[in-house]
């Protein structure tokens, strides 16, 4: 009997790979191209995966390395891939939760790649700082400061501070309704 083929496990990480790719590229077509390249690379280099280690960390490392080399090749295309969010913000939201999410997405898009990556790995995917440091090839302290700076920047962009936090959604709704063009 042979051990289970680690390739069989790849499919279970595809959703997370898409979410990570989407947070890096913020463009679903580019994100899926990135996931596809990563999947092919992982499949054909599966012998480099060490059984028993964290496969998701291994895949994310391939994905982000692929992203950064892709970015070097086609920097311009990726940079202005979606300007549509700003337009969507002018619409009156169906309810506050959606608005806050768009507000968040817009702010999120303004983080630099390094901050966004660190925040997603630690804050969304739940990797330990040490794991994220290994995956991104930097010191643990660097990851921590990137995550802190990302959160601080988001708070600033979303005009969140300790006192305003609870009222924020109303304030933003008001601001947007007021700023809607008169016709």
């Amino acid at each position: 009997m042979k051990d289970a083929d680690p390739r069989d496990e790849l499919v279970s990480h595809l959703g997370a790979m898409r979410a990570f790719a989407m947070s890096l590229t913020r463009n679903s077509a580019t994100a899926d191209d990135l996931v596809q390249d990563t999947l092919v690379k992982a499949w054909t280099n599966i012998e480099k995966y060490e059984a028993g280690t964290n496969m998701r960390a291994w895949l994310f490392t391939i994905l982000r390395n692929t992203y950064y080399s892709m970015l070097r090749k086609r920097k311009r295309e990726v940079a202005d891939a979606d300007d549509t969010l700003a337009g969507m913000l002018a619409e009156k939201p169906a309810h506050d939760g959606r608005l806050q999410m768009r507000d968040f997405e817009e702010a999120f898009a303004q983080l630099n790649d390094e901050q966004r990556e660190a925040l997603v790995l630690v804050g969304a995917e739940g990797f330990a700082y040490e794991e994220a440091a290994e995956m991104t090839g930097v010191a643990v302290g660097t990851v921590k400061s990137r995550v802190n700076r990302a959160r601080a920047r988001l708070a600033e962009l979303m005009h969140l501070d300790e006192n305003e936090a609870i009222e924020m959604t109303d304030q933003v709704t008001q601001a947007i309704v007021n700023s809607a063009p008169a016709a």
């Binding site: 499919v11 979410a19 054909t44 601080a152």
Partner: protein, 59 residues
């Protein structure tokens, strides 16, 4: 560190939004292209039982 750390309540709000955006994509149905790709990869593996060699060379 010159930037002050956001308050815990703000941090929680940020992380909740982050999780929501992330999980939104994570939980989407996989596009068909990925099941197709996996099938292609499996076939090329079956045709090449030496299990080495990539179907796509990097340019």
């Amino acid at each position: 560190m010159q930037q002050k750390k956001p308050a815990a309540s703000v941090q929680r709000q940020i992380d909740e939004n982050l999780k929501r955006v992330y999980d939104d994509v994570l939980n989407q149905d996989l596009p068909e292209r990925f099941s197709k790709l996996l099938n292609e990869l499996k076939e090329s593996q079956a045709n090449d039982t030496s299990s080495r060699g990539g179907p796509e060379a990097d340019e």
